[in-house]
Amino acid sequence: MADESANDVEARSMLRWVWSPGDRAQQQARIESVGVCVPVRRTRSRTVGGADGCGGPVDVEQLSGIGERRECVDGEDSRSLAIAAATDCLEQSAVAAEDLEVLMFCGISKTDGSCRLYRGAPTLAAIVAAEIGARAALPIDVGNACAGMLTGIYVLDDLIRRGVVRSGMVVSGEHISPLAREAAAHVTGPTHPEAATLTLGDAGAAVILQRADGQRDGIVGRRFVTLAEHAGLCTARPRVDAPGVRMLTQARSIHYHAIRATPFIVRSALCEAGIAFEDIDHVVMHQTAQIAIKRCASWCAEVLGSDAPSWVVNVDRFGNTASTAQILALHGCLREGSIRPGQRVLLIAQASGIVVGALVVIIGELGAGRAGAH
């Protein structure tokens, strides 16, 4: 092995090398395609609770700025949302399914066939890969709560930058509206630990990353940390007293700690990218509530010294779609043209764990694929 160059070694097999002779040039990963799937059914926010001493009834729209959310109907689940989003992503991509080398499913919910059935095995990644024909892809389920997709992008970016793979897909399908429906029967006021559950909506999202091969667009800065001392502030597990899943959230605390850490994580990612906060054109952060986005924007401006021009908000139309939130918002902006090639986008993860992450992305020409422009 010692007499061979890295290229020779790579040429003679399809193995993925982690210890190869010689240094390989760092590659940049770019976003090649974005796809989504949102259920057709729309549900307006409504007021719930008010029966006892948790602060009176919860007006979800007033509290969170969420006017409506999307909900799965019978026949839709995490699996179908992920497959539909992956298919949408491929239809707008120049990368064929059979050329994907990695496929990561990064959702929290793994409903399959019913909101009462959660899949353990096979992984959702293996199921999605088989359904879309990604036969050569290594399927991996990556989990990191609402930071799942951005964590997936982070690790896939690493595989591409090291030259281990050329392209891969990160996909998620979140079927979490049943939690909101079930919580509505329990929530008594805005301080109730299930109140945040009322904001959850369903969506699927997918991203294809590929080696940039000399193009200037791509992921140019990244930083993720886990503030593990706050790991218990938001948990979801099966109910033991009734069917379904219960999510318990100390909403004020988790928002406080996540927002407080965000500008420092952003600064680290911007430092790697070699740009300033004011050079960012759009910020796409996790979508939990309009007030949370405003507070985070304000705190980032204070710490980082300038306002970024645009903080994307779509939570009013889709609610909190968990791991898909940033990609769903990014897709909407790309489709309506508010984010354009050449612009710098900051993707921010905030998730239970607590996970705070930032990716600095220069958007390139998407939609060079088979089905035309995004």
Binding site: R116, Y118, G143, A231, M247
Partner: protein, 303 residues
């Protein structure tokens, strides 16, 4: 820079009736893998498991392990979950090479799960931890994987949220030909890996496979036509050992000297789907996976 295994610790298996908490076991395995040096340069923690304590859906399990081990705020550590031991190893080794951290912990653990009505024996509680760090003349060399969707019907596990008395419960169904398909698929991927390395032969290799489905190590040895002791295994008990299986088998092979004698260790995991993930680890013969490497495999954690 090679990424090598600095420590291995495996704990278990425990049958469901023993009521051992898999998260506590995972933390225990991770803590033992860090002792006695108490490395404070672990900035990456990956939990690799499928069946989580209390079937926790959110957040990831890794932050809870981080909380117990890498205490205090602002450590700069990052934690996330990956379903699958070698997937976790591949991603983690890469992130170490990229400079994310000097050392990393991978913790594989599952809680005991009854097979339900599907006729499957279920899984035992078990946990194992790998401490990875920078190497010089040993480490992970290459990974190979293949997906065999033609066998996707072989094993399914589903968590039903409307079980009797509203208690959540798992149902695991396994087809009669699943174990055979796993062994054949794993043998194919190992052959590809060995061929791609163009150095070692199967005679030079200790194979450390998944311990699930039941009987896989023995069947794999037959498929590869190698002596049974060239394939590491643990004794079968009440319930199969799932994600942590290869590491418990590795710890056992380290204890009996087979790892020391080998130039190469090939890890192979087989998961439903069927997805086979294999990895070649090179080490000088006579070395036990690094000078600080320790192992334990008994239920009470005794060496």
């Amino acid at each position: 820079m090679p990424v090598r295994i600095e420590a291995v610790c495996g704990l278990g298996p425990f049958a469901a009736r023993e009521h051992v908490c898999s998260r506590d076991l995972a933390v225990g395995a991770a803590r033992r893998s860090l002792e006695p040096d108490n490395h404070d340069d672990v900035r990456l923690i990956v939990y690799a498991g499928t069946y989580r304590e209390e079937d926790l859906l959110e957040p990831a399990v890794a932050p809870f392990i981080q909380r117990e081990l890498v205490g205090g705020p602002d450590t700069g550590a990052f934690a996330f979950d990956v379903d699958g031991l070698l997937a976790g190893c591949e991603l983690t080794a890469g992130l170490l090479q990229s400079g994310h951290s000097r050392r990393a912990l991978i913790v594989a653990a599952d809680r005991a799960v009854a097979g339900g009505d599907g006729g499957h024996p279920g899984y035992a509680t078990s946990a194992a931890a790998l401490l990875l760090g920078p190497g010089t003349n040993e480490g992970f060399v290459a990974f190979n994987s293949r997906h065999f969707p033609e066998h996707r019907a072989g094993l399914h596990s589903l968590l039903r949220l409307t079980g009797p008395g509203c208690q959540p419960g798992w149902t695991i169904t396994q087809s009669s030909d699943y174990a055979s398909a796993c062994a054949t698929s794993a043998a194919d991927v190992i052959h590809e890996l060995i061929d791609g390395l163009r150095g070692p032969t199967l005679c030079d290799v200790l194979i450390v496979p998944s311990q699930s489905p039941s009987g896989l190590p023995q069947t794999l040895a037959e498929r590869l036509r190698v002596p049974a002791d060239c394939v590491a295994r643990i004794e079968e008990g009440d319930g199969e050992v799932y994600t942590a299986g290869p590491l418990l088998a590795l710890a056992r092979a380290m204890a009996d000297g087979r790892v020391t004698a080998a130039d190469w260790v090939v890890f192979v995991t087989v998961s439903p789907g069927v997805v086979v993930h294999a990895c070649a680890y090179r080490k000088p013969a006579g070395v036990v996976l690094g000078s600080k490497c320790r192992s334990s495999f008994s239920k009470n954690g005794e060496e």
